[in-house]
């Protein structure tokens, strides 16, 4: 497992909002050590329907609880401020769930995170789960199960679909990291791939990509040079028309670049197995693991 485990102490920024409160409850139900919420002006209250204390500032919450991670559910225009607050308070992993943050703000937040050497996942991401241990974000915990498959993805629900296929095929997961669908983001594939490559609990890596940009091409190159575990990839948007943004801000084929075909080609050239459907991902993972056992 990477980044998070059952000992990870987690703050939730924006825990008293509708979405923040709902997912705080779900995280607690999953077993996540949520140690505090942060909402300015609501300090001293509890996150609705929980026993989790709300603090006014991250600094106060961190001092009181020893949290090392923060999950952000704050509204998009407040996310830069809240993220920097967490970074400056000494948080070492920031998971930004918020969708719709203007790219200028994201770029600034990323520059702060890099400067301080902080891990930042997202924005516009489902979060990270180490099945059976902890869940930070909005992933539906019940479709995951512990196992040796490391998952990294730009997508949300598509990740769930593939996790479901893996779980149904009895291929449990070590950790699943949703890096988010925005063009500018904190964590890119290589950082997650490196972590999985060094993780004893991970045997096979599943990389889920989509059209737009060239992150998948770069990830393929990275895998070729730095990853010695088998990788199975799935790329969404094989039939997407060029020039149209497919939901995610990042999912657009621009000037003939960023097609699924180009990405799948790069993956294959890097020795990565490319699946065409979610269930094929599970099949390929299963086959690769059998081969590993034989070796």
């Amino acid at each position: 497992m990477i980044f998070v485990n059952k000992n990870t102490k987690v703050l939730v920024q924006g825990a008293t909002g509708k979405m923040g409160a709902a997912h705080t409850k779900r995280m607690i139900a999953y077993g996540t050590q949520v140690v505090g919420g942060v909402t300015p002006g609501k300090g001293g209250t509890l996150v609705p329907d929980t026993k989790i204390k709300v603090y006014d500032t991250v600094k106060e919450a961190k001092d009181a609880t020893g949290a090392t991670c923060s999950v952000l559910f704050v509204p998009p225009y407040l996310a830069l401020d809240a993220g920097v607050e967490a970074i400056e308070a000494g948080i070492s992993l920031l998971v930004v769930i918020t969708e719709g943050i203007p790219p200028q703000d994201t770029a600034k937040l990323v520059s702060y995170a890099r400067l301080k050497g902080i891990r930042m996942i997202g924005p516009n991401c489902p979060g990270v789960i180490t099945p059976g241990e902890t869940l930070l974000g909005i992933l539906p915990g019940m479709i995951f199960k512990p196992g040796p498959v490391g998952m990294v993805s730009r997508s949300g629900t598509l990740t769930y679909e593939i996790a479901l296929a893996l779980t149904d095929a009895d291929q449990g997961q070590s950790t699943c990291v949703g890096i988010g669908g925005d063009p500018v983001k904190g964590m890119e594939y290589p950082e997650v791939l490196t972590a999985f490559n060094n993780d004893n609990d991970t045997e096979v890596i599943v990389l889920i990509g989509e059209i737009g940009g060239n992150a998948e091409e770069e990830a393929a190159q990275f895998v070729k040079q730095n990853v010695n575990k088998p990788v199975v990839a799935y790329i969404a948007g094989q039939t997407a028309p060029p020039g149209k943004r497919m939901g995610h801000a990042g999912a657009i084929i621009s000037g003939g670049k960023g097609t699924a075909e180009s990405k799948m080609q790069a993956m294959r050239e890097a020795g990565i197995e490319v699946a065409l459907t979610p269930s094929e991902v599970a099949e390929k993972v299963k086959k690769l693991r059998t081969q590993l056992v034989k070796k």
Binding site: P103, P140, G156, T157, V184, I211, G213, R245, M246, A251
Partner: protein, 387 residues
């Protein structure tokens, strides 16, 4: 002189708010970047307002590219010639985009053309200058193109480093650096996806001016960019009607030419569903991402939008409930089926509150698929049945 209409494609160029040239130039002027004198007209009589010398450049104001090649830019040596052009140009539709007005400028005596833009660099995760000393050709294939990442916080030396890298020197270096500084500032302050000057020209009198401009405003920032309040409606004029409607409802719709209407929650899953439909021999009629946290109301709006498309024979609704609760979706379905009992539908529902949803839909006659592949196969097969 060759007019340049190509531009750097920014992420989301086709859906974020694209401004007309005249709007971009007003913004440039407000931020201290020189642009030619101009008037904007829609009728021939307004030519009387021209208060600068002939010959004139008359340019169709459209949101699409390829204007120069399509004949949307013309020159007039005198009033008579200008008069004969106005009607023709106003009637033009270029790349599916109707001419909104005409921008009339004195024809500028150009010594040299350059290219300058600021956009977001997804690989570097920061804004970036893109520039070329030699403009005037298709910018994406331009070999003299250089880039310079823009760190935060910004200091003007970055613009000077850019101008230096472009190969400029002397007064010209300072002039271009000053424009680049202003261009970044407006890009940042107005939350743009793209601020582009193409061409940036040196005139015969050694001024440096923006001869054409392109600005794309990031949609996510419209809520805090008060100057663009109310602009969005007007700038969606070129979108197909249902896509425009979807956008207003916060849904992401792209219409395609097949007959299977696809609705999912989440962009990746929607694309994956499209891909599977195609792989299993079907033909997607649209991409509709109802969003990760869509509720009853939003789901219903999504189904109704797809239902309006006359090409769609069957609707494939694929919901994997994470944030979205299955029972919310079931509510929407019950409501929709009441009004449209004959609509051919395939529904895949799985995830949060799946049990509740199944109970609610027990009497609806809808068959629920827990498995995606089976649902897709069913939809494809339904799409091939003659009505």
């Amino acid at each position: 002189m060759q007019m340049v209409t190509s531009h750097i494609e920014s992420d989301g160029a086709e859906t974020n708010m694209n401004l007309y040239e005249w709007e971009a130039k007003r913004i440039f002027a407000d931020w201290g970047i020189s642009v030619p004198q101009s008037i904007r007209i829609t009728r021939e009589e307004e030519l009387s307002k021209v208060n600068f010398d002939f010959p004139l450049t008359i340019k169709c104001q459209v949101l699409s590219g390829g204007r120069g090649k399509a004949g949307g830019i013309q020159f007039a040596k005198d009033l008579k010639e200008a008069q004969s052009l106005v009607g023709k140009l106003m009637a033009m539709t270029i790349g599916g985009s109707k001419t909104e007005s005409l921008l009339i400028e004195p024809k500028v005596a150009i010594k040299h053309e350059m290219y300058l833009s600021v956009t977001m660099d997804r690989a570097r995760g920061c804004p970036v200058y893109i520039a070329a000393k030699e403009g005037g050709i298709e910018i994406e294939s331009n070999k003299s193109i250089i880039t310079e990442p823009i760190p935060y916080p910004f200091q003007p030396y970055v613009a000077r480093n850019l101008a230096k890298k472009m190969g400029l020197s002397g007064a010209l270096l300072n002039k271009v650096a000053s424009i680049a500084e202003r261009l970044y500032k407006l890009f940042d302050q107005l939350d743009l996806d793209l601020a582009e000057i193409n061409p940036l020209v040196i005139t015969q009198s050694d001024e440096v001016i923006a001869l054409d401009g392109k600005i794309i405003v990031n949609d996510d920032a419209l809520g805090r960019q008060k100057m663009f309040d109310g602009w969005q409606e007007k700038h969606m004029a070129d979108l197909p009607e249902r896509e425009r409607k979807a956008k207003k409802q916060g849904l992401n719709l792209v219409e395609l030419d097949g007959n299977i209407g696809i609705i999912c929650n989440g962009a990746g899953l929607t694309m994956a569903t499209m891909d599977m439909v195609k792989n299993f021999g079907g033909n997607p009629g649209n991409f509709l991402d109802a969003g990760g946290g869509s509720d009853q109301e939003k789901t219903l709006a999504a189904i109704e939008l797809v239902n309006e498309n006359p090409n769609v024979k069957v609707i494939l609704l694929n919901i994997l409930g994470g944030i979205t609760a299955c029972d919310e979706v079931a509510h929407a379905l019950v409501e929709f089926m009441k009004k449209n009992p004959k609509r051919s539908m395939v529904v895949r529902l799985r995830g949060n509150n799946q049990d509740k949803a199944e109970k609610m839909l027990a009497d609806s006659g809808l068959k629920l698929f827990p498995d995606l592949e089976n649902a897709v196969k069913e939809a494809v097969s339904k799409s091939k049945v003659a009505v």
